[in-house]
């Protein structure tokens, strides 16, 4: 178990990319997979590996994130020692950089990293959805005698576009990272950096210090991956299912991926469960005229209509004669009798009134803002 590791989850993500979904919440708090939020995945992965001390670098619009995590009880992080820590930025002291890996985000939270008694640090971003066993990453790190281990994912040529922008690795046969590029190679497979870094806490502090002294600003490009010749940086390949939530179309596609039982099983069970806030929700009720196929349904719903190829979040009510296809209905949506929803993404508490129709296309699912009434 990685109980000698300090986990850092940096939730300073670019929120323009998810449009309507991040108007009122941070990317970390975007609802996912029927009953989760984005943060549940990176956080549960750390907890499942035995990490007991986790700091969250927070950002703007933190209300829904803080209310979701609270004291970390569902992740067993409500402990007397260590546990969950929110590290908010001090907007009065520095100009807030939108670059998630800006060194200033680390220098302003240096006290937390310095006073930790853990020997190692695992730093991740927050927009990668996967179920990864970090114990394997830790083991790989020791076996290779690495100073830094960076997790990457081998991606197919046709996947490059949907994952962009990302850092591309050129990796030696011994798994050592030799080169880092911001632009992917024009042809062939590629190794995508998934922004998960494992290193000693001491080295992290040194790299932050070096960046500051040399007036360099990107902790990943200039710090962690800035000196591949002298620092032994190894790449750990994650072979499992992975989604990057950096656009509405990726968000939609990822949810459709969940309708494959293989992906569902891997994402929710592989290295451990994904924890989320408990809601005391009632098991979902299916009425006499319900017809649900190839769909995921969370608890607390009442389903009286037809649902196909869709993800139904908690507390959704679907009336008799309503027909939902290829759609994602977030929490507490109300779909009245005889209405139709096709290729749509309905944010929380949207109501589609009787007989109305909401439809988009496969390429461009229509997005309905939180609490709108159609």
């Amino acid at each position: 178990m990685l109980n000698n590791v300090l986990g850092i989850i940096n939730v300073i993500e670019n929120e323009q990319t998810l449009g309507e979904l991040t108007e009122q919440r941070s990317l970390a708090a975007v609802p996912m997979g029927g009953r989760y939020r984005v943060i549940d995945f990176p956080l549960s992965n750390m907890v499942n590996a035995g990490i007991k001390s986790i700091g969250i670098f927070t950002h703007y619009k933190m209300g829904s994130l803080v209310s979701h995590l609270k004291n970390g009880r569902e992740w067993n992080l409500d402990t007397k020692r260590r546990g969950l820590f929110f590290l908010s930025p001090d907007f009065s002291k520095y100009l807030f950089s939108p670059n998630k890996w800006d060194v200033s985000h680390f220098t302003t939270r240096l006290g937390y990293i310095k006073t930790s008694t853990r020997n190692y640090v695992l730093i991740t971003g927050c927009n990668i959805i996967c179920n990864i066993d970090y114990q394997k990453v830790g083991k790989f790190h020791q076996e290779k005698g690495a100073q830094i281990t960076a997790v990457y994912k081998e991606i197919l040529p046709e996947e490059k576009e949907k994952y962009s922008p990302y850092l591309s690795f050129r990796i030696s046969e011994e798994s050592r990272i030799r080169e880092v590029n911001s632009t992917p190679p024009p042809s062939g497979k590629d190794n995508m950096c998934v922004e998960m870094f494992f290193l000693s806490r001491q080295l992290l502090l040194e790299l932050i210090d070096t960046c500051v002294k040399q007036n360099k600003w990107d902790l990943v490009r200039d710090g962690l991956l800035g000196n591949l010749r002298d620092i032994k940086v190894y790449g750990y390949h994650f072979p499992g299912y992975l989604a990057k939530i950096n656009s509405l179309s990726n968000y939609y596609r990822h949810h459709m991926d969940l309708l494959q039982p293989k992906v569902w099983r891997e994402l929710f069970f592989a290295a451990g469960p994904i924890y989320t806030k408990a809601k005391d929700s009632v098991p979902t009720k299916y009425l006499a005229d319900a017809s649900v196929q190839n769909s995921l349904v969370a608890n607390d719903c009442i389903i009286g209509g037809k649902v196909e190829n869709s993800i139904i979040f908690r507390g959704v009510k679907i009336g008799k004669g309503a027909h939902i296809k290829n759609s994602i209905i977030l929490e507490k949506g109300i779909i009245d009798n005889y209405s139709r929803v096709d290729y749509a993404l309905l944010d929380k508490e949207v109501r589609v009134t009787k007989g109305k129709e909401v439809s988009g296309t496969d390429d461009a699912p229509v997005v309905i803002r939180k609490q709108n009434i159609i």
């Binding site: 997979g33 029927g34 009953r35 569902e74 309708l259 039982p261 569902w264 994402l267 929710f268 069970f269 469960p273 994904i274 924890y275 989320t276 408990a278 809601k279 005391d280 929700s281 009632v282 098991p283 979902t284 009720k285 299916y286 009425l287 006499a288 005229d289 319900a290 017809s291 649900v292 196929q293 190839n294 769909s295 995921l296 349904v297 969370a298 608890n299 607390d300 009442i302 009286g304 993800i311 139904i312 979040f313």
Partner: protein
Amino acid sequence: MKKEWIALVMAGGQGTRLGFLTQTLAKPAVSFGGKYRIIDFTLSNCSHSGIDTVGVLTQYQPLVLNSYIGNGWHWDLHHSGGGVTVLPPYVKMQGGEWYRGTANAVYQNLEFVDIYNPDYVLILSGDHVYKMDYSLMLDFHKMKKASATVAVIQVPWAEADSFGIMECDPEGKIREFEEKPLKPKSNLASMGVYLFNRTFLEEYLERDNQDSSSQHDFGKNVIPAMVRARESIYAYPFHGYWKDVGTIENYWQANMDLLGPEPLLNLNDPEWPIYSENPNQPPLYLGPSAKVTNSLINEGCVIYGEVDHSVLFPAVTVGAGAVIKNSILMPQVQVEPGTRIENAIVDENGIIYVRKEGERIKGYA
């Protein structure tokens, strides 16, 4: 710390009539309604009624129940200066003994009551399914200036002989209390919910303890003794759903009462949610050939077959071509493709109880 009232929940019963469901756990710990354990109803009622100190008296197979109750967090009952305390029988200076009936169980825990110095003590059963605001009963009790109040519900006359039946005057004062009368004089049945003035209760428990002919049971001995002595005992009429799930038939029926658009027992009540442990399971997956109607199904299930008029607990799998009707499937049950299950209760060990006469169905687990 002084409290106005505290609750004691009787959770020691074996529940022999529930058969295999209570082989390894106490009746209040039996799973119910696709998610809950039976005691969730009583503890949620306490929590919503503003009771912050609850003793749970356990005896039979308490392991699952004890660990489930924990510090009471599931029901928002994890208070400092109160909360939930599990009260098993214990050894005293003069030796120890098992609880010999509900009244004796409370008698043996009067020290627990004294810690909180309450004005009123509410005695509850941990094996009934209902939603009830006990604070309204307390208001009634105070208004009547009663020494004790017994919650009652109207039951069908035909079933009255299986309950404790009360006969009252027009004011609601109880004139007669008969446990399972052959010829019931009324259809007002005791719900096993008793509210006592504390000193009054202590006095009668002391007397009951001295009485060697007593079975030390509230319904059989203590309440009848109070009524006989013409004490000020009132019946508090409760209107709503209430079920003693002490038999397999009642248990099955209570589960089925949750189904339909207007169920007899509504769990989707934002004003009175039933708190429970929340199993951490992903949303359920319904496959391309799934057909699910008239049912209550929890998260974590994977369904390719047909489910009608049934209750499924978390992480149940139903293979393609399997048909489930009028049944209750406990957590983790795996139904192989093509299996047919009707009118049955199936648990994770593959034990099946079939409700009606008929062939015993093979279980897969």
